[in-house]
Symmetry: C2
Subunit: 155 residues, 2 copies
DNA sequence: CCATATTAGTTTGAATATCAAACTATTCTG
DNA sequence: CAGAATAGTTTGATATTCAAACTAATATGG
């Protein structure tokens, strides 16, 4: 156990401990930022759902439920709220009228873009002063995590 | 708008999009991994609480509630469950008998260590092939995020 | 000292979120 | 075309959360 490996070990612990709490804090900040804007009636969970529908435009209810790992019943309840508040719309698929495709309304798209901009600001702050090769490393780290997730969850 | 800044922009978008979903997946995996072990009666939220109590040994109920941003009532309910399942114990502070200090039981410590090991495995996988200076960069990125969180939430 | 204020944690009651299973409407299939 | 399969909703039960009322213990200051 030499000095270098001890230092790396310590770095690993620092990174591990940091990661645990950061996400919770980000969720909380996202919600509180959004509540300062014109979108005061949106919770962090609803924001997450709006983000997912914006990212995966016109997907079906079942597909979105699978992506978010929510039961269909739970998603129906959430969609009712977001539809009532004017952020999403249900579009009956005319080829197969059992299917409902989900889309953002223009209000929903405004929220989506505001949220996306916040995320971008966070990433920019995070990578402040990093050069191209540093950024490549960050991408690599994220891809490694995705691989790990894929392996553990059996793909 | 030259080629390099376009590429960086794309990298930023990649990183931003990746981050959104990774945490949810990690939470889910943590819960499913823990359910494969001897700790089948633990949810992701309870795991988070055990982690916090393990990290901040013998803190008071109010302090833990503040750390996790839970109301005291909610924390009481969660503590009841974890105490019943044998993961934590409430220790009445003899200097001030209003105060309850929270600690892990030996079963709780086993769970804490298993969970911590999983996190370490994740970080190791994430930083696979990285050298000392790369790891420093990762630490810097995390500290930048923490700064950003601090600024936005007004410290 | 003691009456009052303060503090730590619990209980309570209401609101919300979630799930699985039953159900409805529609489409597919043999 | 009858029955199976599929997409989404409804329903009933359970769990989570919060704020406010409450209990017990300690601090304060007259």
């Amino acid at each position: 156990m030499n000095a270098i490996s001890d230092e790396i070990k310590e770095d690993y612990n620092f990174i591990s401990d940091s990661l645990v709490d950061i996400y919770d804090q980000i969720m909380r900040i996202e919600e509180s930022e959004i509540k300062k804007s014109r979108f005061k009636d949106i919770t962090a969970k609803e924001l997450h759902l709006v983000h997912t529908i914006g990212l995966h435009d016109h997907k079906t209810t079942s597909e979105v439920a699978r992506i978010l790992r929510l039961s269909k019943g739970t998603l129906t309840a959430n969609l009712n709220n977001l539809e009532r508040k004017g952020y999403i719309s249900r579009i009956i698929n005319q080829r197969d009228r059992r299917i409902i495709n989900l889309a953002l309304t223009s209000k929903g798209r405004l929220l989506y873009r505001a949220h996306y901009a916040f995320h971008r600001k966070l990433v920019e702050q995070c990578l402040k002063g990093f050069d191209g090769s540093d950024i490549k490393k960050m991408k690599q780290a994220l891809m490694n995590v995705e691989d790990f997730i894929g392996e553990v969850s059996g793909r």
